[in-house]
Amino acid sequence: MTRRFAIGDEVTVRDATSMFHTRTQAFTRGRTGTVVEFRPDWVIPEDEAWGRDTPERGGRTEPFYVVRFRQTDLWPRYTGFDIDTLETEVAERWLQPAEKKES
C-alpha cells in the first residue's frame, strides 16, 4: 500500500473518539511528532480486536509508522531532560500532516 508519510514528516495524531479498544494512546491524541521509522502494513487494531484479523476475515491492512514525540510535548509537567523522547507505533489512519508552524 502506498504510504502517505515519509521519514522525517511532522505528523499530528488525530483526536478521534475510541470505543471499546484502542492502540493509539490517549496521551498522544492531538500531539505532534516526527515519523522516524516505517512498520510493515498490518491489519488495523480496530479490526483485529474484533476477530477480523486477516483480509479474508475482513481486516483492513494499512501502513504503520513509528512516531517520535518530545516528552515535553506530551507531558506539561515533565521533569526530565528536554531532549527526552517517546516513540510509539501508529496506524496511518490516526495521523494527519502537522500544521506548518509560523516562522
Binding site: H21, A26, R31, E48, P76, R77
Partner: protein, 151 residues
C-alpha cells in the same frame, strides 16, 4: 468540587493533564454520587466511563509498592492455554485485550492479571460457540469437588 470528580479526572488527557494531576495529588475524601444506574449523567462523566481501560498511560494514579512475585503454575498454564487458542485460530491477542476491556473497570482492575486472561478466554469460547456455559460450570464444579476432596 464536582460531584463524581474521582471519575471525571479520567476525562481529558491531552488538554487538562496538568489540572488532573493536581487534583489527584490533592486526593482527599470527596462527596460523590454513587454509580447506581443514574437517570442521567453528564457528557464528561460518560467520557470518563467509556475511557478504554487498558489505555492507562498518563491516567492519574498513585504510587504502588513494587513487590517481587514468582510466576505460579496456574499463571503459566493460563498463558500457554491462551496462546494455544490463538495458534488454533480461536482468537488473537488484540481480541483478548479488547475482551479484557469489556469486563469493565471493577473486574479489569479487580482480577489478578492472568485471572483476567482466563476469564475472557472462557467468555470468548462461549461467545464463539466452542463451549457452553453449562459445560464450563460443570467443569468448575468438578475441579472444585476434586480440590475439596484433596484438602
Amino acid at each position: 468540587m464536582t460531584i463524581g470528580s474521582r471519575l471525571e479526572v479520567k476525562v481529558s488527557v491531552s488538554g487538562q493533564f496538568d489540572g488532573v494531576a493536581t487534583r489527584v495529588r490533592d486526593i482527599a475524601p470527596v462527596a460523590r454520587d454513587p454509580l447506581d444506574s443514574p437517570y442521567e449523567i453528564s457528557n464528561q462523566m460518560f467520557a470518563a466511563l467509556r475511557h478504554v481501560l487498558h489505555d492507562v498511560g498518563g491516567q492519574p494514579d498513585l504510587p504502588v509498592p513494587f513487590l517481587e512475585k514468582v510466576e505460579e503454575d496456574w499463571e503459566m498454564n493460563t498463558y500457554i492455554t491462551c496462546e494455544c487458542l490463538g495458534w488454533r485460530g480461536v482468537w488473537n491477542s488484540e481480541e483478548r485485550r479488547r475482551a479484557e476491556n469489556d469486563l469493565g473497570a471493577t473486574l479489569y482492575f479487580g482480577l489478578p492479571y492472568y485471572a483476567r486472561w482466563a476469564t475472557v478466554a472462557a467468555k470468548t469460547l462461549i461467545n464463539k460457540g466452542l463451549i457452553t456455559p453449562d459445560e464450563l460450570s460443570a467443569k468448575l464444579d468438578e475441579v472444585r469437588a476434586r480440590l475439596e476432596a484433596q484438602a
